[in-house]
Symmetry: C2
Subunit: 203 residues, 2 copies
Protein backbone atom coordinates (compact mmCIF):
# COMPACT_ATOMS: atom_id res chain seq x y z
CA UNK A 1 0.00 0.00 0.00
CA UNK A 2 1.05 3.61 -0.43
CA UNK A 3 1.83 5.52 2.73
CA UNK A 4 1.73 9.28 2.29
CA UNK A 5 3.00 11.85 4.78
CA UNK A 6 1.67 15.36 4.11
CA UNK A 7 3.98 18.20 5.09
CA UNK A 8 3.28 21.93 4.99
CA UNK A 9 6.42 24.02 5.25
CA UNK A 10 4.72 27.39 4.84
CA UNK A 11 3.90 28.39 8.40
CA UNK A 12 4.82 25.41 10.45
CA UNK A 13 3.52 25.20 14.00
CA UNK A 14 2.49 28.81 14.59
CA UNK A 15 0.94 27.91 17.95
CA UNK A 16 4.46 27.15 19.20
CA UNK A 17 5.45 30.78 18.53
CA UNK A 18 5.44 31.66 22.26
CA UNK A 19 8.15 29.06 22.76
CA UNK A 20 10.10 28.81 19.50
CA UNK A 21 11.21 31.26 16.79
CA UNK A 22 10.23 30.71 13.16
CA UNK A 23 13.49 29.01 12.19
CA UNK A 24 13.28 26.81 15.24
CA UNK A 25 9.72 25.81 14.46
CA UNK A 26 10.88 24.79 11.00
CA UNK A 27 13.73 22.79 12.56
CA UNK A 28 11.42 20.97 14.93
CA UNK A 29 8.92 20.32 12.13
CA UNK A 30 11.68 18.75 10.04
CA UNK A 31 12.76 16.59 12.97
CA UNK A 32 9.19 15.41 13.56
CA UNK A 33 8.84 14.60 9.86
CA UNK A 34 12.03 12.56 10.17
CA UNK A 35 10.55 10.61 13.07
CA UNK A 36 7.36 9.85 11.14
CA UNK A 37 9.26 8.74 8.04
CA UNK A 38 11.45 6.46 10.18
CA UNK A 39 8.39 4.92 11.83
CA UNK A 40 6.75 4.26 8.46
CA UNK A 41 9.95 2.75 7.06
CA UNK A 42 10.54 0.61 10.15
CA UNK A 43 7.00 -0.68 9.76
CA UNK A 44 8.01 -2.00 6.35
CA UNK A 45 6.53 0.67 4.09
CA UNK A 46 8.08 3.19 1.70
CA UNK A 47 6.83 6.62 2.70
CA UNK A 48 6.03 9.32 0.16
CA UNK A 49 6.05 12.93 1.30
CA UNK A 50 3.30 15.18 -0.05
CA UNK A 51 4.74 18.64 0.43
CA UNK A 52 3.72 22.21 -0.30
CA UNK A 53 7.28 22.91 -1.49
CA UNK A 54 10.32 20.92 -2.65
CA UNK A 55 12.25 19.26 0.19
CA UNK A 56 15.74 17.86 0.25
CA UNK A 57 14.97 14.41 1.61
CA UNK A 58 16.08 10.84 1.03
CA UNK A 59 12.42 10.02 0.32
CA UNK A 60 10.10 10.52 -2.64
CA UNK A 61 8.54 13.99 -2.47
CA UNK A 62 5.51 15.11 -4.44
CA UNK A 63 4.89 18.85 -4.43
CA UNK A 64 1.27 20.00 -4.29
CA UNK A 65 0.60 23.56 -3.27
CA UNK A 66 -3.10 23.09 -2.72
CA UNK A 67 -4.64 23.04 0.75
CA UNK A 68 -4.13 19.83 2.71
CA UNK A 69 -7.52 18.22 2.10
CA UNK A 70 -7.41 18.87 -1.64
CA UNK A 71 -3.90 17.52 -1.97
CA UNK A 72 -4.69 14.35 0.00
CA UNK A 73 -7.91 13.82 -1.92
CA UNK A 74 -5.98 14.03 -5.18
CA UNK A 75 -3.85 11.13 -3.95
CA UNK A 76 -6.91 9.15 -2.85
CA UNK A 77 -8.68 9.79 -6.13
CA UNK A 78 -5.75 8.60 -8.23
CA UNK A 79 -5.84 4.96 -7.13
CA UNK A 80 -8.17 2.18 -6.07
CA UNK A 81 -5.46 0.66 -3.88
CA UNK A 82 -5.25 1.12 -0.13
CA UNK A 83 -3.64 4.39 0.93
CA UNK A 84 -2.30 5.22 4.36
CA UNK A 85 -1.89 8.85 5.37
CA UNK A 86 0.14 9.76 8.44
CA UNK A 87 0.52 13.37 9.55
CA UNK A 88 4.06 14.74 9.77
CA UNK A 89 3.76 16.19 13.29
CA UNK A 90 3.54 12.92 15.24
CA UNK A 91 6.98 12.68 16.86
CA UNK A 92 5.93 9.77 19.10
CA UNK A 93 4.99 7.58 16.14
CA UNK A 94 6.70 4.20 16.14
CA UNK A 95 6.77 1.30 13.73
CA UNK A 96 4.50 -0.61 16.11
CA UNK A 97 1.95 2.17 16.10
CA UNK A 98 2.03 2.43 12.30
CA UNK A 99 1.62 -1.33 12.03
CA UNK A 100 -1.38 -1.22 14.35
CA UNK A 101 -2.93 1.23 11.87
CA UNK A 102 -2.23 -0.91 8.83
CA UNK A 103 -3.15 -4.18 10.57
CA UNK A 104 -6.58 -3.02 11.75
CA UNK A 105 -9.60 -4.19 9.79
CA UNK A 106 -11.96 -1.72 8.18
CA UNK A 107 -12.83 -0.03 4.93
CA UNK A 108 -11.33 2.97 6.61
CA UNK A 109 -9.18 2.88 9.75
CA UNK A 110 -8.89 6.08 11.77
CA UNK A 111 -6.35 7.11 14.39
CA UNK A 112 -7.86 10.06 16.26
CA UNK A 113 -5.78 13.01 17.34
CA UNK A 114 -6.20 15.01 20.51
CA UNK A 115 -8.78 17.72 19.93
CA UNK A 116 -10.76 15.89 17.29
CA UNK A 117 -8.38 15.62 14.36
CA UNK A 118 -7.50 12.58 12.28
CA UNK A 119 -3.79 12.04 12.77
CA UNK A 120 -3.51 8.98 10.61
CA UNK A 121 -5.83 6.86 8.54
CA UNK A 122 -5.82 3.93 6.19
CA UNK A 123 -8.35 4.01 3.36
CA UNK A 124 -9.03 0.61 1.83
CA UNK A 125 -12.37 1.80 0.43
CA UNK A 126 -11.63 3.74 -2.78
CA UNK A 127 -14.43 6.23 -2.12
CA UNK A 128 -13.04 7.70 1.09
CA UNK A 129 -12.13 11.40 0.98
CA UNK A 130 -10.79 13.71 3.70
CA UNK A 131 -11.98 16.99 5.14
CA UNK A 132 -9.41 18.07 7.68
CA UNK A 133 -10.94 21.17 9.20
CA UNK A 134 -12.86 21.67 12.45
CA UNK A 135 -12.86 18.24 13.96
CA UNK A 136 -12.15 15.92 11.07
CA UNK A 137 -12.42 12.71 13.10
CA UNK A 138 -16.15 13.14 13.54
CA UNK A 139 -16.61 14.12 9.89
CA UNK A 140 -14.63 11.14 8.69
CA UNK A 141 -16.68 8.77 10.82
CA UNK A 142 -19.91 10.29 9.56
CA UNK A 143 -18.77 10.03 5.97
CA UNK A 144 -17.83 6.39 6.41
CA UNK A 145 -21.14 5.60 8.14
CA UNK A 146 -23.15 7.38 5.45
CA UNK A 147 -21.32 5.56 2.69
CA UNK A 148 -21.62 2.20 4.43
CA UNK A 149 -17.86 1.77 4.90
CA UNK A 150 -16.75 -0.27 7.89
CA UNK A 151 -14.68 1.80 10.31
CA UNK A 152 -11.76 0.59 12.39
CA UNK A 153 -10.02 2.74 14.97
CA UNK A 154 -6.57 2.64 16.51
CA UNK A 155 -6.34 3.41 20.21
CA UNK A 156 -2.84 4.89 20.27
CA UNK A 157 -1.47 7.67 22.42
CA UNK A 158 1.57 7.82 20.15
CA UNK A 159 -0.57 8.51 17.11
CA UNK A 160 -2.95 10.81 19.02
CA UNK A 161 -0.23 13.24 20.03
CA UNK A 162 0.28 15.85 17.34
CA UNK A 163 2.48 18.74 18.37
CA UNK A 164 0.59 22.02 18.26
CA UNK A 165 1.20 23.79 21.56
CA UNK A 166 4.03 24.16 24.06
CA UNK A 167 2.40 21.67 26.43
CA UNK A 168 2.63 18.98 23.76
CA UNK A 169 6.41 19.21 24.04
CA UNK A 170 6.14 17.61 27.49
CA UNK A 171 5.01 14.40 25.82
CA UNK A 172 7.86 14.52 23.31
CA UNK A 173 10.45 14.92 26.06
CA UNK A 174 8.87 12.11 28.07
CA UNK A 175 8.16 9.56 25.38
CA UNK A 176 10.13 10.56 22.28
CA UNK A 177 12.79 8.22 20.94
CA UNK A 178 13.96 9.94 17.77
CA UNK A 179 14.95 13.18 16.10
CA UNK A 180 12.35 15.49 17.66
CA UNK A 181 13.28 14.74 21.26
CA UNK A 182 16.97 15.06 20.33
CA UNK A 183 16.23 18.41 18.68
CA UNK A 184 14.41 19.67 21.79
CA UNK A 185 17.21 18.57 24.13
CA UNK A 186 19.81 20.19 21.86
CA UNK A 187 17.73 23.37 21.93
CA UNK A 188 17.91 23.34 25.72
CA UNK A 189 14.44 22.13 26.65
CA UNK A 190 13.91 20.05 29.74
CA UNK A 191 11.10 18.90 31.95
CA UNK A 192 10.41 20.64 35.24
CA UNK A 193 7.83 19.83 37.88
CA UNK A 194 4.79 22.07 37.87
CA UNK A 195 2.87 21.42 41.04
CA UNK A 196 -0.54 22.18 39.61
CA UNK A 197 -0.23 20.07 36.47
CA UNK A 198 2.57 17.59 36.76
CA UNK A 199 5.24 18.65 34.29
CA UNK A 200 6.00 21.49 31.93
CA UNK A 201 8.89 22.30 29.60
CA UNK A 202 11.48 24.91 30.40
CA UNK A 203 14.47 26.19 28.50
Amino acid sequence: MRVVVPFDDREPKTRLAPTLGADERAGLAAAMLGDVLAAVRDAGHTPEVLSTAPLDLDTAVTVDERPLSEAVNAVLGATDDAVGVVMADLPLATATAVSRLTDTDGGVVLAPGLGGGTNAFLARHPGFRVNYHDGSYRKHREQADTAGMTVGTVDSFRLALDVDEPRDLVEVLLHGEGQAVAWLREAGFELVADHSRGLRVER
Copy 2:
Protein backbone atom coordinates in the same frame (compact mmCIF):
# COMPACT_ATOMS: atom_id res chain seq x y z
CA MET B 1 -5.18 -10.31 40.08
CA ARG B 2 -6.61 -7.48 42.14
CA VAL B 3 -7.68 -4.39 40.21
CA VAL B 4 -7.96 -1.29 42.36
CA VAL B 5 -9.59 1.99 41.34
CA PRO B 6 -8.61 4.89 43.62
CA PHE B 7 -11.24 7.60 44.02
CA ASP B 8 -10.95 10.90 45.87
CA ASP B 9 -14.31 12.50 46.55
CA ARG B 10 -12.96 15.46 48.52
CA GLU B 11 -12.33 18.10 45.86
CA PRO B 12 -12.98 16.34 42.64
CA LYS B 13 -11.75 17.97 39.45
CA THR B 14 -11.14 21.53 40.66
CA ARG B 15 -9.59 22.48 37.32
CA LEU B 16 -13.03 22.02 35.77
CA ALA B 17 -14.38 24.79 38.01
CA PRO B 18 -14.58 27.31 35.14
CA THR B 19 -17.01 24.97 33.41
CA LEU B 20 -18.83 23.01 36.13
CA GLY B 21 -20.12 23.77 39.63
CA ALA B 22 -18.99 21.70 42.59
CA ASP B 23 -22.02 19.40 42.57
CA GLU B 24 -21.66 18.93 38.85
CA ARG B 25 -18.00 18.07 39.16
CA ALA B 26 -18.95 15.43 41.71
CA GLY B 27 -21.61 14.09 39.33
CA LEU B 28 -19.18 13.86 36.45
CA ALA B 29 -16.55 12.24 38.68
CA ALA B 30 -19.07 9.58 39.72
CA ALA B 31 -20.00 8.94 36.08
CA MET B 32 -16.33 8.58 35.11
CA LEU B 33 -15.80 6.16 38.00
CA GLY B 34 -18.76 4.18 36.68
CA ASP B 35 -17.15 3.98 33.25
CA VAL B 36 -13.86 2.76 34.68
CA LEU B 37 -15.55 0.13 36.84
CA ALA B 38 -17.54 -1.09 33.83
CA ALA B 39 -14.37 -1.34 31.73
CA VAL B 40 -12.59 -3.33 34.44
CA ARG B 41 -15.57 -5.65 34.87
CA ASP B 42 -16.01 -6.14 31.13
CA ALA B 43 -12.33 -7.08 30.96
CA GLY B 44 -13.12 -9.93 33.33
CA HIS B 45 -11.88 -8.50 36.62
CA THR B 46 -13.62 -7.59 39.85
CA PRO B 47 -12.79 -3.98 40.62
CA GLU B 48 -12.20 -2.72 44.14
CA VAL B 49 -12.62 0.98 44.84
CA LEU B 50 -10.11 2.60 47.16
CA SER B 51 -11.93 5.71 48.33
CA THR B 52 -11.28 8.60 50.66
CA ALA B 53 -14.86 8.28 51.95
CA PRO B 54 -17.64 5.67 51.95
CA LEU B 55 -19.46 5.35 48.61
CA ASP B 56 -22.78 3.77 47.79
CA LEU B 57 -21.67 1.45 45.00
CA ASP B 58 -22.37 -2.05 43.82
CA THR B 59 -18.63 -2.72 44.15
CA ALA B 60 -16.30 -3.43 47.07
CA VAL B 61 -15.13 -0.14 48.59
CA THR B 62 -12.18 0.25 50.94
CA VAL B 63 -11.96 3.59 52.71
CA ASP B 64 -8.50 5.04 53.21
CA GLU B 65 -8.25 8.73 54.00
CA ARG B 66 -4.52 8.96 53.40
CA PRO B 67 -3.08 10.71 50.36
CA LEU B 68 -3.28 8.77 47.11
CA SER B 69 0.27 7.44 46.99
CA GLU B 70 0.18 6.22 50.60
CA ALA B 71 -3.16 4.52 50.15
CA VAL B 72 -2.08 2.75 46.94
CA ASN B 73 1.24 1.73 48.47
CA ALA B 74 -0.62 0.18 51.41
CA VAL B 75 -2.46 -2.02 48.90
CA LEU B 76 0.76 -2.91 47.08
CA GLY B 77 2.54 -3.70 50.34
CA ALA B 78 -0.20 -6.03 51.54
CA THR B 79 0.27 -8.69 48.85
CA ASP B 80 2.85 -10.40 46.67
CA ASP B 81 0.27 -10.99 43.97
CA ALA B 82 -0.10 -8.85 40.87
CA VAL B 83 -2.08 -5.65 41.42
CA GLY B 84 -3.58 -3.45 38.75
CA VAL B 85 -4.41 0.16 39.56
CA VAL B 86 -6.60 2.19 37.22
CA MET B 87 -7.40 5.83 37.93
CA ALA B 88 -11.07 6.76 38.27
CA ASP B 89 -11.00 9.71 35.85
CA LEU B 90 -10.50 7.78 32.61
CA PRO B 91 -13.93 7.98 30.98
CA LEU B 92 -12.64 6.58 27.67
CA ALA B 93 -11.39 3.37 29.29
CA THR B 94 -12.72 0.24 27.64
CA ALA B 95 -12.42 -3.46 28.39
CA THR B 96 -10.03 -3.77 25.46
CA ALA B 97 -7.78 -1.07 26.85
CA VAL B 98 -7.80 -2.63 30.32
CA SER B 99 -6.98 -6.02 28.79
CA ARG B 100 -4.07 -4.52 26.89
CA LEU B 101 -2.73 -3.36 30.28
CA THR B 102 -3.13 -6.74 31.93
CA ASP B 103 -1.90 -8.69 28.89
CA THR B 104 1.35 -6.75 28.47
CA ASP B 105 4.52 -8.38 29.74
CA GLY B 106 6.66 -6.73 32.40
CA GLY B 107 7.44 -6.68 36.08
CA VAL B 108 5.56 -3.41 35.96
CA VAL B 109 3.35 -2.25 33.09
CA LEU B 110 2.67 1.48 32.79
CA ALA B 111 -0.03 3.34 30.89
CA PRO B 112 1.12 6.95 30.67
CA GLY B 113 -1.29 9.83 31.06
CA LEU B 114 -1.17 13.11 29.20
CA GLY B 115 1.11 15.49 31.05
CA GLY B 116 3.36 12.86 32.57
CA GLY B 117 1.11 11.00 34.98
CA THR B 118 0.59 7.27 35.36
CA ASN B 119 -3.05 6.64 34.57
CA ALA B 120 -2.95 2.90 35.04
CA PHE B 121 -0.37 0.31 35.93
CA LEU B 122 0.00 -3.36 36.62
CA ALA B 123 2.58 -4.35 39.22
CA ARG B 124 3.66 -7.97 38.99
CA HIS B 125 6.88 -7.24 40.89
CA PRO B 126 6.03 -7.10 44.62
CA GLY B 127 8.54 -4.32 45.26
CA PHE B 128 6.91 -1.68 43.08
CA ARG B 129 5.62 1.43 44.88
CA VAL B 130 3.95 4.58 43.55
CA ASN B 131 4.75 8.25 43.84
CA TYR B 132 2.01 10.12 42.05
CA HIS B 133 3.16 13.71 42.19
CA ASP B 134 4.94 15.89 39.60
CA GLY B 135 5.27 13.58 36.68
CA SER B 136 4.88 10.13 38.11
CA TYR B 137 5.45 8.29 34.83
CA ARG B 138 9.11 9.27 34.74
CA LYS B 139 9.55 8.46 38.43
CA HIS B 140 7.92 5.09 38.04
CA ARG B 141 10.15 4.21 35.09
CA GLU B 142 13.24 5.30 37.01
CA GLN B 143 12.23 3.27 40.03
CA ALA B 144 11.67 0.18 37.91
CA ASP B 145 14.99 0.65 36.11
CA THR B 146 16.88 1.16 39.35
CA ALA B 147 15.31 -1.92 40.90
CA GLY B 148 15.92 -4.01 37.79
CA MET B 149 12.22 -4.57 37.08
CA THR B 150 11.25 -5.09 33.46
CA VAL B 151 8.93 -2.34 32.23
CA GLY B 152 6.10 -2.73 29.74
CA THR B 153 4.08 0.16 28.43
CA VAL B 154 0.62 0.45 26.94
CA ASP B 155 0.21 2.83 24.03
CA SER B 156 -3.43 3.77 24.58
CA PHE B 157 -5.14 7.08 23.94
CA ARG B 158 -8.12 5.82 25.94
CA LEU B 159 -5.99 5.23 29.01
CA ALA B 160 -3.91 8.39 28.47
CA LEU B 161 -6.90 10.71 28.64
CA ASP B 162 -7.62 11.69 32.23
CA VAL B 163 -10.14 14.47 32.61
CA ASP B 164 -8.62 17.49 34.30
CA GLU B 165 -9.50 20.52 32.20
CA PRO B 166 -12.42 21.72 30.08
CA ARG B 167 -10.59 20.82 26.86
CA ASP B 168 -10.45 17.19 27.96
CA LEU B 169 -14.24 17.12 27.72
CA VAL B 170 -13.90 17.37 23.93
CA GLU B 171 -12.38 13.90 23.93
CA VAL B 172 -15.17 12.52 26.12
CA LEU B 173 -17.86 13.88 23.82
CA LEU B 174 -16.04 12.53 20.76
CA HIS B 175 -14.98 9.11 21.96
CA GLY B 176 -16.98 8.32 25.12
CA GLU B 177 -19.34 5.37 25.12
CA GLY B 178 -20.60 5.25 28.69
CA GLN B 179 -21.88 7.21 31.66
CA ALA B 180 -19.59 10.24 31.44
CA VAL B 181 -20.53 11.18 27.89
CA ALA B 182 -24.20 10.62 28.75
CA TRP B 183 -23.77 12.86 31.80
CA LEU B 184 -22.19 15.63 29.70
CA ARG B 185 -24.90 15.46 27.05
CA GLU B 186 -27.60 15.53 29.73
CA ALA B 187 -25.89 18.60 31.22
CA GLY B 188 -26.15 20.31 27.85
CA PHE B 189 -22.61 20.05 26.56
CA GLU B 190 -21.95 19.74 22.87
CA LEU B 191 -19.07 20.06 20.46
CA VAL B 192 -18.68 23.19 18.38
CA ALA B 193 -16.09 23.99 15.73
CA ASP B 194 -13.32 26.28 16.88
CA HIS B 195 -11.44 27.39 13.81
CA SER B 196 -8.11 27.76 15.53
CA ARG B 197 -8.06 24.42 17.29
CA GLY B 198 -10.59 22.05 15.83
CA LEU B 199 -13.29 21.55 18.44
CA ARG B 200 -14.28 22.88 21.84
CA VAL B 201 -17.19 22.17 24.18
CA GLU B 202 -20.06 24.56 24.62
CA ARG B 203 -23.10 24.44 26.81
